[in-house]
Assembly symmetry: C2
Homo-oligomer: 434 residues x 2
Amino acid sequence: MRQSPHPWPKIVVLGAGFGGLFACRALGHKDVDVLLVDRLNYHTFTPLLYQVATCALDPGEVAYPIRSIFRGVPNIQVVMGEVTRIDTGARLVEIRLDDILRQEPYDYLILATGSVAEYFGHLDFRQQAFEMQSLSDAVSLRNHILRLFERAAYTQDPAQRAALTTLVVVGGGPTGLETAGALHELYNHVLQEEFSASPPLHARVYLVELQPYVLKPYPQALRQAALEQLRSLGVEVLLSNPVVDISADHIRLQDGAVIPTRTVVWAAGVSASPLTGGLDAPRSPDGRLHVLPTLQVVGHERLYAVGDLAYLEDPRGQPYPMLIPVANQQGRLAAGNILRHIGGQPGAPFRYHDRGMMATIGRSRAVAWIYNRLPLSGYCAWLAWLGLHLVTLLGFRNQLVVLVNWMWNYFTYDRSVRIILDQERRSPPPARQE
Amino acid sequence: MRQSPHPWPKIVVLGAGFGGLFACRALGHKDVDVLLVDRLNYHTFTPLLYQVATCALDPGEVAYPIRSIFRGVPNIQVVMGEVTRIDTGARLVEIRLDDILRQEPYDYLILATGSVAEYFGHLDFRQQAFEMQSLSDAVSLRNHILRLFERAAYTQDPAQRAALTTLVVVGGGPTGLETAGALHELYNHVLQEEFSASPPLHARVYLVELQPYVLKPYPQALRQAALEQLRSLGVEVLLSNPVVDISADHIRLQDGAVIPTRTVVWAAGVSASPLTGGLDAPRSPDGRLHVLPTLQVVGHERLYAVGDLAYLEDPRGQPYPMLIPVANQQGRLAAGNILRHIGGQPGAPFRYHDRGMMATIGRSRAVAWIYNRLPLSGYCAWLAWLGLHLVTLLGFRNQLVVLVNWMWNYFTYDRSVRIILDQERRSPPPARQE
């Protein structure tokens, strides 16, 4: 710990997602003391979570220990814990790990706690649906799907088998498309081949979307291209059809259709993380904190919010989207504005450098909208997606290992990470008969 | 499923460890129908479990889906399930997956269910101790240790910190040595560096052994070499000192010493798996089934037992050790003897081709006893260990990925797989204040 007669300003950063990480990177080796708090000990590379859920990557390949990221940066401390209270008057946050509480005073606070799945009032859906928000979610979904296939191999009843091997993804955004596409490949190229059941297991993947199109923010031509690629892969896409009920063994849509299934993946939307619930600050309807263009939370000079948690409108009056590049750039700007505040300078306003969007649908299938001008579709878009994600992945070892796995998967259609790793608590062994 | 007017003999193999796997490999593409049953959907490469526990490898790198191993072998079916009953009179086994039961008739049965940790009457120890028997054990231990270090960073109390960062491994066999050595490296090369606590975290690793030496089956010179390498690494070895009590916050030894610790790894011994408890067959005191030299269970012509589950004495009257090469060779022989029995020929007796033993203690530290003649110690033994394990790992992808990780770990002392992946069940999010 640094010993200094004149202590540096103390900045607490809550959340080690993309926003928090980029803020800390911009604060490293500066004359400030930074404390980065996250409830996990690793940063999750969320764009590849669906690859963990579909057995293409190991959990460790999309997670990176936070302490490692800031090893060798002496002014950044990392602590694992949940935030239990934010006191903006006394300028302190309270964090908790198991039964240990700890209070941390701050001069500046950056809120970067991200988003959670949004159920739009249907909280009962949450009991039945799988999410794709965290690494635990992805591993749970992987375990669940593999186990259902093992169960399907036990039974001859066609209806039971159909329910066990039918999967429904709700939501036509990038996460929904990626998950549906990758699950279809897992089912029909890998698992089906190995389950030599008689009659053969026939797996179906549905994508259900409320709107009459997928990929809402994309131009019409790319929406259509994505839809065609999904359908050419074999995914059954149901549009303009909201979910009205999810239970343990089926899902019901507004048009009355009932799909028997044990697996519903909820990718229909996100809202701001509820962690900052105790704050007295104006919010958008989806719970995001209104921030000034300098990213200061409205009414709180020393409080900054970035990424999915922050609500800010662009010059055309549209809110900035909840996307990783926005979080990255806001994290960097919040860090810069704090340093400017310390130096007595005015803060700079947020300007989004938008390099476009991309979504992948499966092997060799993707759409991209480069700089929101150049539309790409199919193989080129997929190569662009692959390159971008490999470059962005943290750490050289991870890049190398992920590259090996991707090449392996691409040429062999193999999914080697197909293990059901249930972490249930051990129970004592049955007594042995002597 | 094969349709044939004259059905082939049906062989059920229980357990997809090394014994069961090698039996199935020897039965592949022969005129028999094989059903391989395991309670997991993957084979575990147990010699590298300690590397998962110490964050050097990802779980998927030491586990291989059983269905993949036998893809393309049409006469071998794989099913996931627990054995609930063996009826040697009716010649059928009953297996279970969740709530589904299934009965499988057999003409021959190979029992290869392996071993479990043995507590020598101290069943209460099991509540407190971690094991190194399964992949779940290894991941649980990894999560536990990483979490304790995070907790230690919260507290300034020297006694609490010491208890949180002290680890005790019980048992001076290869598993105990490997675990103690690797944990010491994890603690003192990786974690300590990243926890920039004040005062610095000081981690201690103890190895506790009942006997006055480690590595009982090795010659005295190698025992001594292993002990010296362990101690030179920094592991505190306590010999001739049985454990008398394990509780949540300490371990007590026979000489009265009390070590405050939250982490006890039990590697003191194994006994036969209790899965075959319902069988009417003679057993050794540690629960192993007595088999004839042909590996037929005594009193059961069509029942074979192999590996850790089988008890057989070598020509000098010593029981064959519970080691992977024994299981491999017995699995192959049981398969061969079944094919001989079908062909009306007498079974061949087991002869162990003993190529020696090796154990690793850490980076560049190991002992090996090649062909039980040539003793190796230090760097040469470690290279031999590395080569052997890389060659033996199943699957080209795994070999490649493990090689990348090993090289990375070796040159950087990095442990990238350091994520606390708790698989606790999701709970609904707290209500948001609007």
